[in-house]
Protein backbone atom coordinates (compact mmCIF):
# COMPACT_ATOMS: atom_id res chain seq x y z
CA UNK A 1 0.00 0.00 0.00
CA UNK A 2 1.37 3.39 -0.89
CA UNK A 3 0.52 6.95 0.07
CA UNK A 4 1.66 9.54 -2.42
CA UNK A 5 1.37 13.24 -1.78
CA UNK A 6 2.08 16.22 -3.98
CA UNK A 7 0.34 19.33 -2.69
CA UNK A 8 0.61 23.10 -2.78
CA UNK A 9 -1.10 25.65 -0.62
CA UNK A 10 -0.61 29.37 -0.37
CA UNK A 11 -0.93 31.00 3.07
CA UNK A 12 0.14 34.47 1.99
CA UNK A 13 3.59 34.95 3.48
CA UNK A 14 4.04 31.19 3.69
CA UNK A 15 3.76 28.63 0.93
CA UNK A 16 3.55 24.87 1.32
CA UNK A 17 5.01 22.64 -1.40
CA UNK A 18 5.16 19.07 -0.17
CA UNK A 19 5.80 16.02 -2.30
CA UNK A 20 6.73 12.56 -1.05
CA UNK A 21 5.70 8.94 -0.98
CA UNK A 22 5.29 6.60 1.96
CA UNK A 23 4.96 2.84 1.72
CA UNK A 24 3.46 0.19 3.95
CA UNK A 25 5.61 -1.47 6.54
CA UNK A 26 7.76 1.57 7.18
CA UNK A 27 7.48 4.61 9.39
CA UNK A 28 8.13 7.76 7.40
CA UNK A 29 9.22 10.81 9.35
CA UNK A 30 8.34 14.38 8.41
CA UNK A 31 10.99 16.42 10.16
CA UNK A 32 10.96 20.18 10.42
CA UNK A 33 11.13 23.10 12.82
CA UNK A 34 7.82 24.36 14.19
CA UNK A 35 5.77 26.33 11.68
CA UNK A 36 7.30 24.63 8.65
CA UNK A 37 4.02 23.12 7.47
CA UNK A 38 4.25 19.60 8.90
CA UNK A 39 0.85 19.59 10.56
CA UNK A 40 -0.83 21.31 7.63
CA UNK A 41 0.49 18.55 5.38
CA UNK A 42 -1.10 15.92 7.62
CA UNK A 43 -4.37 17.84 7.75
CA UNK A 44 -4.45 17.99 3.95
CA UNK A 45 -3.98 14.23 3.76
CA UNK A 46 -6.75 13.64 6.30
CA UNK A 47 -9.07 16.00 4.43
CA UNK A 48 -9.46 18.52 7.24
CA UNK A 49 -7.71 21.15 5.18
CA UNK A 50 -7.90 21.55 1.40
CA UNK A 51 -4.75 22.22 -0.63
CA UNK A 52 -4.92 24.83 -3.41
CA UNK A 53 -3.71 22.30 -5.91
CA UNK A 54 -2.13 18.90 -6.11
CA UNK A 55 -2.82 15.22 -5.84
CA UNK A 56 -3.15 12.80 -2.93
CA UNK A 57 -3.48 9.10 -3.51
CA UNK A 58 -3.74 6.20 -1.09
CA UNK A 59 -3.66 2.55 -2.12
CA UNK A 60 -4.54 3.43 -5.70
CA UNK A 61 -7.55 5.54 -4.67
CA UNK A 62 -7.45 9.27 -5.34
CA UNK A 63 -8.30 11.19 -2.16
CA UNK A 64 -7.70 14.60 -3.64
CA UNK A 65 -7.00 15.92 -7.10
CA UNK A 66 -7.41 19.58 -7.91
CA UNK A 67 -7.37 19.04 -11.67
CA UNK A 68 -10.04 16.32 -11.59
CA UNK A 69 -12.04 18.14 -8.86
CA UNK A 70 -11.84 15.20 -6.52
CA UNK A 71 -11.91 15.96 -2.80
CA UNK A 72 -13.11 13.11 -0.61
CA UNK A 73 -14.58 14.08 2.77
CA UNK A 74 -12.48 13.12 5.81
CA UNK A 75 -15.16 10.56 6.63
CA UNK A 76 -14.50 8.66 3.41
CA UNK A 77 -10.70 8.73 3.41
CA UNK A 78 -10.20 6.11 6.15
CA UNK A 79 -7.03 7.69 7.41
CA UNK A 80 -6.23 7.53 11.12
CA UNK A 81 -5.10 10.84 12.62
CA UNK A 82 -3.47 11.00 16.03
CA UNK A 83 -3.76 14.61 17.19
CA UNK A 84 -1.19 16.36 19.30
CA UNK A 85 -3.64 16.71 22.19
CA UNK A 86 -5.26 13.35 21.30
CA UNK A 87 -8.71 14.97 20.84
CA UNK A 88 -10.54 12.50 23.08
CA UNK A 89 -14.22 13.30 23.52
CA UNK A 90 -14.34 14.68 27.09
CA UNK A 91 -17.98 13.73 27.58
CA UNK A 92 -17.40 10.04 26.85
CA UNK A 93 -15.71 7.30 28.84
CA UNK A 94 -12.72 5.38 27.53
CA UNK A 95 -14.96 2.57 26.28
CA UNK A 96 -17.36 5.02 24.60
CA UNK A 97 -14.48 6.90 22.99
CA UNK A 98 -13.11 3.70 21.49
CA UNK A 99 -16.55 2.49 20.43
CA UNK A 100 -17.07 5.81 18.63
CA UNK A 101 -14.32 4.73 16.26
CA UNK A 102 -15.89 1.41 15.26
CA UNK A 103 -17.66 1.63 11.92
CA UNK A 104 -19.48 -1.69 12.08
CA UNK A 105 -22.32 -1.23 14.58
CA UNK A 106 -22.75 -4.98 15.18
CA UNK A 107 -19.12 -5.40 16.24
CA UNK A 108 -18.85 -2.22 18.25
CA UNK A 109 -18.73 -3.72 21.74
CA UNK A 110 -16.51 -6.66 20.83
CA UNK A 111 -13.98 -4.51 18.94
CA UNK A 112 -13.80 -1.98 21.77
CA UNK A 113 -13.19 -4.75 24.30
CA UNK A 114 -10.47 -6.28 22.19
CA UNK A 115 -8.64 -2.96 21.81
CA UNK A 116 -8.97 -2.12 25.49
CA UNK A 117 -7.17 -5.40 26.10
CA UNK A 118 -4.52 -4.90 23.38
CA UNK A 119 -3.64 -1.41 24.57
CA UNK A 120 -3.43 -2.24 28.28
CA UNK A 121 -6.44 -0.14 29.18
CA UNK A 122 -8.26 -2.68 31.34
CA UNK A 123 -9.72 -1.15 34.48
CA UNK A 124 -10.00 2.24 32.81
CA UNK A 125 -13.02 1.50 30.64
CA UNK A 126 -15.36 3.66 32.66
CA UNK A 127 -13.00 6.53 33.35
CA UNK A 128 -13.21 9.86 31.56
CA UNK A 129 -10.22 11.17 29.56
CA UNK A 130 -9.40 13.85 32.14
CA UNK A 131 -8.88 11.11 34.76
CA UNK A 132 -6.13 9.44 32.71
CA UNK A 133 -2.41 10.10 32.45
CA UNK A 134 -0.97 11.47 29.23
CA UNK A 135 0.30 8.06 28.14
CA UNK A 136 -3.06 6.43 28.81
CA UNK A 137 -4.85 9.18 26.88
CA UNK A 138 -2.59 8.51 23.94
CA UNK A 139 -3.35 4.79 24.07
CA UNK A 140 -7.09 5.52 24.10
CA UNK A 141 -6.68 7.78 21.08
CA UNK A 142 -4.71 5.06 19.30
CA UNK A 143 -7.29 2.42 20.20
CA UNK A 144 -10.02 4.66 18.83
CA UNK A 145 -8.08 5.08 15.58
CA UNK A 146 -7.29 1.38 15.23
CA UNK A 147 -10.95 0.54 15.93
CA UNK A 148 -11.68 2.48 12.78
CA UNK A 149 -9.46 0.16 10.71
CA UNK A 150 -7.62 2.95 8.90
CA UNK A 151 -5.57 2.38 5.77
CA UNK A 152 -2.83 4.77 6.86
CA UNK A 153 -1.75 6.39 10.13
CA UNK A 154 -0.86 10.03 10.60
CA UNK A 155 0.88 10.86 13.87
CA UNK A 156 1.15 14.55 14.71
CA UNK A 157 3.90 15.11 17.30
CA UNK A 158 2.51 12.31 19.44
CA UNK A 159 4.94 12.86 22.31
CA UNK A 160 4.83 16.62 22.60
CA UNK A 161 2.15 16.59 25.32
CA UNK A 162 3.91 14.05 27.52
CA UNK A 163 6.13 14.53 30.54
CA UNK A 164 9.66 13.75 29.46
CA UNK A 165 10.03 10.90 31.97
CA UNK A 166 6.95 9.25 30.45
CA UNK A 167 8.09 9.66 26.88
CA UNK A 168 10.55 6.81 26.78
CA UNK A 169 7.98 4.23 27.91
CA UNK A 170 5.26 5.55 25.60
CA UNK A 171 7.67 5.60 22.69
CA UNK A 172 8.53 1.92 23.18
CA UNK A 173 4.84 1.00 23.29
CA UNK A 174 4.12 2.99 20.17
CA UNK A 175 6.99 1.35 18.32
CA UNK A 176 5.56 -2.09 19.11
CA UNK A 177 2.19 -1.04 17.78
CA UNK A 178 3.51 0.59 14.64
CA UNK A 179 5.41 -2.59 13.87
CA UNK A 180 2.10 -4.46 13.67
CA UNK A 181 0.29 -1.88 11.54
CA UNK A 182 0.03 -2.83 7.91
CA UNK A 183 -0.45 0.48 6.10
CA UNK A 184 1.91 3.44 5.65
CA UNK A 185 2.66 5.49 8.76
CA UNK A 186 3.55 9.19 8.66
CA UNK A 187 5.20 10.59 11.75
CA UNK A 188 5.49 14.34 12.16
CA UNK A 189 8.02 15.70 14.62
CA UNK A 190 10.58 18.41 15.25
CA UNK A 191 12.81 16.03 17.18
CA UNK A 192 15.70 14.33 15.42
CA UNK A 193 15.98 11.85 18.29
CA UNK A 194 12.44 10.64 17.70
CA UNK A 195 13.12 10.31 13.98
CA UNK A 196 16.23 8.28 14.65
CA UNK A 197 14.46 5.91 17.03
CA UNK A 198 11.11 5.51 15.28
CA UNK A 199 11.48 6.07 11.54
CA UNK A 200 13.07 4.22 8.67
CA UNK A 201 13.00 7.04 6.17
CA UNK A 202 12.63 10.76 6.57
CA UNK A 203 11.58 13.77 4.56
CA UNK A 204 12.83 17.15 5.75
CA UNK A 205 10.40 20.05 5.46
CA UNK A 206 12.12 23.40 5.30
CA UNK A 207 9.87 26.49 5.38
CA UNK A 208 7.08 24.64 3.63
CA UNK A 209 9.25 22.92 1.02
CA UNK A 210 9.81 19.20 1.19
CA UNK A 211 13.23 17.83 0.40
CA UNK A 212 13.86 14.43 -1.20
CA UNK A 213 13.08 11.40 0.94
CA UNK A 214 16.15 9.77 2.43
CA UNK A 215 16.93 6.85 4.71
CA UNK A 216 17.25 7.92 8.33
CA UNK A 217 20.94 6.85 8.56
CA UNK A 218 21.74 9.13 5.67
CA UNK A 219 20.17 12.15 7.38
CA UNK A 220 22.53 11.69 10.32
CA UNK A 221 25.65 10.54 8.51
CA UNK A 222 25.53 12.57 5.34
CA UNK A 223 22.87 15.26 5.31
CA UNK A 224 22.80 16.91 1.91
CA UNK A 225 21.27 20.26 2.67
CA UNK A 226 21.79 22.97 5.25
CA UNK A 227 18.37 22.54 6.85
CA UNK A 228 18.72 18.76 7.02
CA UNK A 229 22.12 19.22 8.62
CA UNK A 230 20.80 21.66 11.25
CA UNK A 231 17.74 19.47 11.95
CA UNK A 232 19.98 16.44 12.36
CA UNK A 233 21.60 18.27 15.25
CA UNK A 234 24.89 19.42 13.74
CA UNK A 235 25.99 22.64 15.44
CA UNK A 236 29.09 23.59 13.43
CA UNK A 237 28.14 25.10 10.10
CA UNK A 238 29.87 27.74 8.00
CA UNK A 239 29.05 29.42 4.72
CA UNK A 240 31.31 27.94 2.07
CA UNK A 241 32.78 28.89 -1.32
CA UNK A 242 34.34 26.36 -3.70
CA UNK A 243 37.86 27.33 -4.83
CA UNK A 244 39.23 26.59 -8.33
CA UNK A 245 41.79 24.15 -6.91
CA UNK A 246 38.98 21.92 -5.54
CA UNK A 247 39.32 23.12 -1.97
CA UNK A 248 36.59 24.88 0.04
CA UNK A 249 36.79 28.24 1.69
CA UNK A 250 34.85 28.24 4.97
CA UNK A 251 33.87 31.90 5.12
CA UNK A 252 32.59 32.02 8.69
CA UNK A 253 35.53 30.12 10.15
CA UNK A 254 38.13 32.00 8.13
CA UNK A 255 39.96 28.92 6.80
CA UNK A 256 40.42 26.77 3.73
CA UNK A 257 39.48 23.10 3.81
CA UNK A 258 40.42 20.03 1.81
CA UNK A 259 37.55 17.60 1.40
CA UNK A 260 39.29 14.93 -0.67
CA UNK A 261 36.12 14.34 -2.67
CA UNK A 262 34.53 16.16 -5.65
CA UNK A 263 32.40 19.06 -4.44
CA UNK A 264 28.63 19.04 -5.03
CA UNK A 265 27.64 21.51 -7.77
CA UNK A 266 25.66 23.96 -5.62
CA UNK A 267 27.78 23.82 -2.46
CA UNK A 268 26.71 26.60 -0.09
CA UNK A 269 27.73 25.48 3.40
CA UNK A 270 30.11 23.12 5.10
CA UNK A 271 29.51 21.46 8.45
CA UNK A 272 31.11 19.13 10.96
CA UNK A 273 29.74 17.48 14.10
CA UNK A 274 31.17 18.61 17.43
CA UNK A 275 32.47 15.19 18.42
CA UNK A 276 34.49 14.82 15.20
CA UNK A 277 36.68 17.85 15.87
CA UNK A 278 40.18 16.94 17.12
CA UNK A 279 42.66 19.02 19.10
CA UNK A 280 45.92 19.36 17.18
CA UNK A 281 49.55 20.17 17.98
CA UNK A 282 50.01 23.07 15.60
CA UNK A 283 49.43 24.25 12.02
CA UNK A 284 48.61 21.75 9.26
CA UNK A 285 45.99 21.02 6.64
CA UNK A 286 42.38 21.55 7.80
CA UNK A 287 43.59 23.03 11.06
CA UNK A 288 42.88 26.40 12.57
CA UNK A 289 43.86 28.29 15.73
CA UNK A 290 40.99 29.00 18.11
CA UNK A 291 40.42 30.78 21.38
CA UNK A 292 38.53 28.91 24.08
CA UNK A 293 35.56 31.02 24.98
CA UNK A 294 33.53 28.85 27.33
CA UNK A 295 33.69 25.29 28.68
CA UNK A 296 30.57 23.33 29.62
CA UNK A 297 30.67 20.07 31.55
CA UNK A 298 28.09 17.66 30.17
CA UNK A 299 27.12 14.32 31.69
CA UNK A 300 29.72 12.22 29.84
CA UNK A 301 31.77 14.74 27.93
CA UNK A 302 33.15 18.24 27.92
CA UNK A 303 31.97 20.78 25.37
CA UNK A 304 34.00 23.86 24.56
CA UNK A 305 32.89 26.87 22.54
CA UNK A 306 35.73 28.15 20.35
CA UNK A 307 36.21 31.47 18.63
CA UNK A 308 37.65 31.02 15.14
CA UNK A 309 39.76 33.39 13.04
CA UNK A 310 36.50 34.15 11.25
CA UNK A 311 35.16 36.05 14.27
CA UNK A 312 33.13 35.48 17.41
CA UNK A 313 29.58 35.69 16.15
CA UNK A 314 26.93 33.02 15.44
CA UNK A 315 28.06 30.52 12.82
CA UNK A 316 31.67 31.56 13.07
CA UNK A 317 32.06 29.83 16.41
CA UNK A 318 32.97 26.16 16.66
CA UNK A 319 31.81 23.69 19.20
CA UNK A 320 34.07 20.83 20.15
CA UNK A 321 33.02 17.84 22.21
CA UNK A 322 35.62 15.62 23.88
CA UNK A 323 35.80 12.86 26.47
CA UNK A 324 36.22 14.30 29.92
CA UNK A 325 39.63 12.64 30.18
CA UNK A 326 40.77 13.94 26.79
CA UNK A 327 39.83 17.47 27.76
CA UNK A 328 41.51 17.20 31.13
CA UNK A 329 44.72 16.10 29.34
CA UNK A 330 44.78 19.46 27.54
CA UNK A 331 45.01 21.14 30.98
CA UNK A 332 42.54 23.94 30.47
CA UNK A 333 44.02 25.74 27.43
CA UNK A 334 43.28 29.34 26.47
CA UNK A 335 44.34 28.84 22.87
CA UNK A 336 43.77 25.62 20.95
CA UNK A 337 44.63 24.33 17.48
CA UNK A 338 41.79 22.24 16.08
CA UNK A 339 41.66 19.86 13.14
CA UNK A 340 38.57 19.24 11.02
CA UNK A 341 39.20 15.72 9.63
CA UNK A 342 38.37 15.82 5.93
CA UNK A 343 36.47 12.52 5.90
CA UNK A 344 34.09 14.01 8.50
CA UNK A 345 33.22 17.19 6.61
CA UNK A 346 29.57 17.58 5.56
CA UNK A 347 29.30 19.29 2.19
CA UNK A 348 25.90 20.97 2.04
CA UNK A 349 23.82 22.38 -0.76
CA UNK A 350 21.54 25.34 -0.26
CA UNK A 351 17.79 24.71 0.09
Amino acid sequence: MRLSVDIHKDFGPFRLDAAFEADSGAVTGLLGASGCGKSVTLRCIAGIETPDEGHIELDGEVLFDSAAHINLSPQRRRVGYLFQNYALFPNMTVAQNIAAGVRDRARRKETAERLIHTLYLEGNEHKYPRQLSGGQQQRVALARILANEPRALLLDEPFSALDSYLKWQVELELMDLLGKFEGPVLFVTHSRDEVRRLCQQVCVLDQGRSQPMQPVEELFEAPRTLSACLLSGCKNVSRARPLPDGRVEALDWGMTLESGVPLPPNLSHVGIRAHFLRPAEGPGPNRLPCTVERVVDEMFSTVAMLTTPGGGQGFSRLRIELDKAAWAALSNPKELWVELPRERLLLLAGA
Binding site: P74, A100, I145, N148, D163, S191
Partner: protein, 233 residues
Protein backbone atom coordinates in the same frame (compact mmCIF):
# COMPACT_ATOMS: atom_id res chain seq x y z
CA UNK B 1 -55.20 37.20 45.01
CA UNK B 2 -55.87 36.46 41.37
CA UNK B 3 -53.05 34.19 40.09
CA UNK B 4 -53.75 34.60 36.36
CA UNK B 5 -50.78 36.98 35.70
CA UNK B 6 -48.32 34.41 37.11
CA UNK B 7 -49.78 31.63 34.97
CA UNK B 8 -49.80 33.85 31.88
CA UNK B 9 -46.22 35.07 32.44
CA UNK B 10 -44.92 31.54 32.91
CA UNK B 11 -46.76 30.30 29.84
CA UNK B 12 -45.45 33.15 27.66
CA UNK B 13 -41.89 32.74 28.96
CA UNK B 14 -41.97 28.97 28.47
CA UNK B 15 -43.17 29.10 24.88
CA UNK B 16 -40.75 31.84 23.90
CA UNK B 17 -37.87 30.00 25.58
CA UNK B 18 -38.59 26.90 23.49
CA UNK B 19 -38.60 28.99 20.32
CA UNK B 20 -35.45 30.88 21.32
CA UNK B 21 -33.67 27.66 22.27
CA UNK B 22 -33.78 26.24 18.76
CA UNK B 23 -33.46 29.52 16.84
CA UNK B 24 -30.62 30.74 19.06
CA UNK B 25 -28.58 27.55 18.74
CA UNK B 26 -29.21 27.39 15.00
CA UNK B 27 -28.15 31.01 14.53
CA UNK B 28 -25.10 30.61 16.78
CA UNK B 29 -23.97 27.46 14.97
CA UNK B 30 -24.24 28.89 11.48
CA UNK B 31 -23.07 32.41 12.24
CA UNK B 32 -19.89 31.03 13.85
CA UNK B 33 -19.05 29.40 10.50
CA UNK B 34 -19.63 32.45 8.30
CA UNK B 35 -16.91 34.63 6.77
CA UNK B 36 -15.86 37.53 8.96
CA UNK B 37 -17.72 40.40 7.33
CA UNK B 38 -21.09 38.67 7.06
CA UNK B 39 -20.59 37.40 10.59
CA UNK B 40 -20.02 40.92 11.87
CA UNK B 41 -23.13 42.31 10.21
CA UNK B 42 -25.40 39.43 11.26
CA UNK B 43 -24.03 39.59 14.76
CA UNK B 44 -25.08 43.22 15.07
CA UNK B 45 -28.56 42.52 13.72
CA UNK B 46 -29.11 39.52 15.99
CA UNK B 47 -27.82 41.28 19.09
CA UNK B 48 -29.64 44.56 18.50
CA UNK B 49 -32.81 43.67 20.49
CA UNK B 50 -30.60 43.35 23.57
CA UNK B 51 -29.61 47.01 23.51
CA UNK B 52 -32.66 48.62 21.91
CA UNK B 53 -35.29 50.02 24.28
CA UNK B 54 -38.08 47.42 24.43
CA UNK B 55 -40.52 50.10 23.26
CA UNK B 56 -38.58 50.34 19.99
CA UNK B 57 -38.86 46.57 19.59
CA UNK B 58 -42.58 46.89 20.38
CA UNK B 59 -42.93 49.58 17.75
CA UNK B 60 -41.30 47.39 15.09
CA UNK B 61 -43.47 44.46 16.08
CA UNK B 62 -46.62 46.57 15.80
CA UNK B 63 -45.51 47.76 12.37
CA UNK B 64 -45.21 44.13 11.34
CA UNK B 65 -48.00 42.37 13.20
CA UNK B 66 -50.65 45.07 13.61
CA UNK B 67 -54.08 44.22 12.11
CA UNK B 68 -53.53 46.55 9.15
CA UNK B 69 -49.85 45.67 8.59
CA UNK B 70 -48.21 43.05 6.32
CA UNK B 71 -48.13 39.98 8.51
CA UNK B 72 -51.02 40.97 10.76
CA UNK B 73 -53.38 41.46 7.84
CA UNK B 74 -52.34 38.22 6.16
CA UNK B 75 -52.95 36.17 9.31
CA UNK B 76 -56.27 37.92 9.90
CA UNK B 77 -57.51 37.25 6.36
CA UNK B 78 -56.31 33.67 6.03
CA UNK B 79 -56.64 32.31 9.58
CA UNK B 80 -58.92 34.84 11.21
CA UNK B 81 -56.12 35.23 13.76
CA UNK B 82 -55.29 38.45 15.58
CA UNK B 83 -51.58 38.85 16.37
CA UNK B 84 -51.92 41.81 18.74
CA UNK B 85 -53.75 42.43 22.00
CA UNK B 86 -54.07 38.68 22.71
CA UNK B 87 -52.08 36.66 25.28
CA UNK B 88 -49.86 34.99 22.70
CA UNK B 89 -48.89 38.33 21.16
CA UNK B 90 -46.58 38.72 24.18
CA UNK B 91 -44.67 35.65 22.99
CA UNK B 92 -43.37 37.61 19.98
CA UNK B 93 -42.29 40.43 22.23
CA UNK B 94 -40.46 38.31 24.79
CA UNK B 95 -38.96 36.01 22.15
CA UNK B 96 -37.43 38.91 20.23
CA UNK B 97 -36.16 40.68 23.33
CA UNK B 98 -34.66 37.55 24.93
CA UNK B 99 -33.28 35.96 21.74
CA UNK B 100 -29.88 37.73 21.85
CA UNK B 101 -29.16 36.25 25.30
CA UNK B 102 -29.49 32.72 23.98
CA UNK B 103 -27.72 33.49 20.74
CA UNK B 104 -24.73 35.14 22.35
CA UNK B 105 -24.21 32.60 25.13
CA UNK B 106 -24.56 29.70 22.70
CA UNK B 107 -22.16 31.36 20.27
CA UNK B 108 -19.61 31.91 23.01
CA UNK B 109 -19.90 28.24 23.92
CA UNK B 110 -19.53 27.12 20.31
CA UNK B 111 -16.52 29.34 19.82
CA UNK B 112 -14.83 27.82 22.87
CA UNK B 113 -15.32 24.38 21.34
CA UNK B 114 -12.06 22.67 20.41
CA UNK B 115 -12.36 22.08 16.65
CA UNK B 116 -9.88 19.20 16.72
CA UNK B 117 -12.61 17.17 18.45
CA UNK B 118 -14.80 17.62 15.39
CA UNK B 119 -11.90 16.84 13.05
CA UNK B 120 -11.09 13.70 15.01
CA UNK B 121 -14.69 12.53 14.73
CA UNK B 122 -14.69 13.28 11.00
CA UNK B 123 -11.58 11.23 10.37
CA UNK B 124 -13.29 8.43 12.31
CA UNK B 125 -16.06 8.50 9.73
CA UNK B 126 -18.71 10.15 11.91
CA UNK B 127 -21.39 12.29 10.26
CA UNK B 128 -21.65 15.98 11.02
CA UNK B 129 -25.06 15.40 12.63
CA UNK B 130 -23.53 12.82 14.97
CA UNK B 131 -20.73 15.23 15.80
CA UNK B 132 -23.20 18.02 16.55
CA UNK B 133 -25.37 16.02 18.94
CA UNK B 134 -22.79 13.70 20.50
CA UNK B 135 -19.70 15.89 20.77
CA UNK B 136 -20.40 19.58 20.21
CA UNK B 137 -23.62 19.90 22.20
CA UNK B 138 -22.39 17.95 25.25
CA UNK B 139 -19.16 19.97 25.21
CA UNK B 140 -21.14 23.22 25.10
CA UNK B 141 -23.86 22.02 27.47
CA UNK B 142 -23.14 24.47 30.26
CA UNK B 143 -23.22 27.52 28.00
CA UNK B 144 -26.40 26.39 26.36
CA UNK B 145 -28.20 25.69 29.63
CA UNK B 146 -27.04 29.03 31.00
CA UNK B 147 -28.31 30.77 27.86
CA UNK B 148 -31.66 29.04 28.15
CA UNK B 149 -32.13 29.97 31.80
CA UNK B 150 -31.15 33.59 31.15
CA UNK B 151 -33.52 33.82 28.20
CA UNK B 152 -36.32 32.41 30.31
CA UNK B 153 -35.63 34.99 33.03
CA UNK B 154 -35.57 37.83 30.53
CA UNK B 155 -38.74 36.61 28.81
CA UNK B 156 -40.47 36.40 32.17
CA UNK B 157 -39.62 40.00 33.01
CA UNK B 158 -40.44 41.52 29.62
CA UNK B 159 -42.53 44.66 30.00
CA UNK B 160 -42.01 47.36 27.36
CA UNK B 161 -42.65 45.54 24.10
CA UNK B 162 -45.28 43.34 25.76
CA UNK B 163 -47.36 46.27 26.98
CA UNK B 164 -47.32 47.74 23.48
CA UNK B 165 -48.26 44.63 21.57
CA UNK B 166 -50.42 42.76 24.10
CA UNK B 167 -51.62 45.62 26.27
CA UNK B 168 -53.14 45.00 29.70
CA UNK B 169 -56.46 43.18 29.88
CA UNK B 170 -57.05 41.59 33.32
CA UNK B 171 -57.54 37.84 33.00
CA UNK B 172 -56.51 37.91 29.33
CA UNK B 173 -53.18 39.56 28.54
CA UNK B 174 -52.08 40.57 32.03
CA UNK B 175 -48.56 39.43 32.98
CA UNK B 176 -46.69 39.95 36.24
CA UNK B 177 -44.86 42.98 34.95
CA UNK B 178 -47.90 44.70 33.41
CA UNK B 179 -49.92 43.91 36.55
CA UNK B 180 -47.33 45.56 38.79
CA UNK B 181 -47.51 48.72 36.71
CA UNK B 182 -51.32 48.66 36.53
CA UNK B 183 -51.75 48.11 40.30
CA UNK B 184 -49.28 50.85 41.16
CA UNK B 185 -50.91 53.24 38.69
CA UNK B 186 -54.31 52.68 40.27
CA UNK B 187 -52.94 53.22 43.77
CA UNK B 188 -53.05 49.58 44.94
CA UNK B 189 -49.61 49.72 46.54
CA UNK B 190 -50.04 46.52 48.57
CA UNK B 191 -51.13 44.56 45.49
CA UNK B 192 -48.16 45.83 43.50
CA UNK B 193 -45.84 44.85 46.36
CA UNK B 194 -47.17 41.27 46.38
CA UNK B 195 -46.36 40.83 42.68
CA UNK B 196 -42.99 42.52 43.11
CA UNK B 197 -42.12 39.91 45.74
CA UNK B 198 -43.29 37.06 43.49
CA UNK B 199 -41.14 38.40 40.68
CA UNK B 200 -38.10 38.83 42.95
CA UNK B 201 -38.42 35.24 44.16
CA UNK B 202 -38.55 33.81 40.64
CA UNK B 203 -35.63 35.92 39.41
CA UNK B 204 -33.49 34.96 42.41
CA UNK B 205 -34.07 31.25 41.78
CA UNK B 206 -33.17 31.65 38.11
CA UNK B 207 -29.95 33.51 38.83
CA UNK B 208 -28.96 31.01 41.50
CA UNK B 209 -29.38 28.26 38.92
CA UNK B 210 -27.13 30.08 36.47
CA UNK B 211 -24.44 30.59 39.12
CA UNK B 212 -24.50 26.95 40.11
CA UNK B 213 -24.11 25.91 36.49
CA UNK B 214 -21.14 28.20 36.01
CA UNK B 215 -19.34 26.87 39.08
CA UNK B 216 -19.68 23.31 37.87
CA UNK B 217 -17.46 24.03 34.89
CA UNK B 218 -15.95 20.76 33.76
CA UNK B 219 -13.65 21.57 30.91
CA UNK B 220 -10.90 18.98 30.46
CA UNK B 221 -7.51 20.05 31.71
CA UNK B 222 -4.91 20.11 28.98
CA UNK B 223 -1.61 18.42 29.69
CA UNK B 224 1.01 20.45 27.98
CA UNK B 225 4.36 19.69 29.43
CA UNK B 226 7.07 21.15 27.32
CA UNK B 227 9.71 18.85 25.96
CA UNK B 228 11.32 21.59 23.95
CA UNK B 229 14.98 21.93 23.22
CA UNK B 230 15.15 18.91 20.98
CA UNK B 231 16.27 20.53 17.76
CA UNK B 232 18.86 22.71 19.32
CA UNK B 233 20.37 21.57 22.59
Amino acid sequence: MEWYPLFNSLRIAAVSTVIIFFLGILAAYYVAKLPRLVKGVLDVVLTLPLVLPPTVVGYFLLRLLGPRRVLGLWFLEHFDLRLTMVWYAAIFASAVVAFPLMYRTARGAFEAFDPTLAYAAQTLGRSNTWIFWRVRMPYCKQGIIAGTVLSFARALGEYGATSMIAGYTPGKTATISTTVYQLWRTGDDAGAMRWVLVNLAISAVVLLTVNMLEKKDRRPRRRTVSVAGEVGE
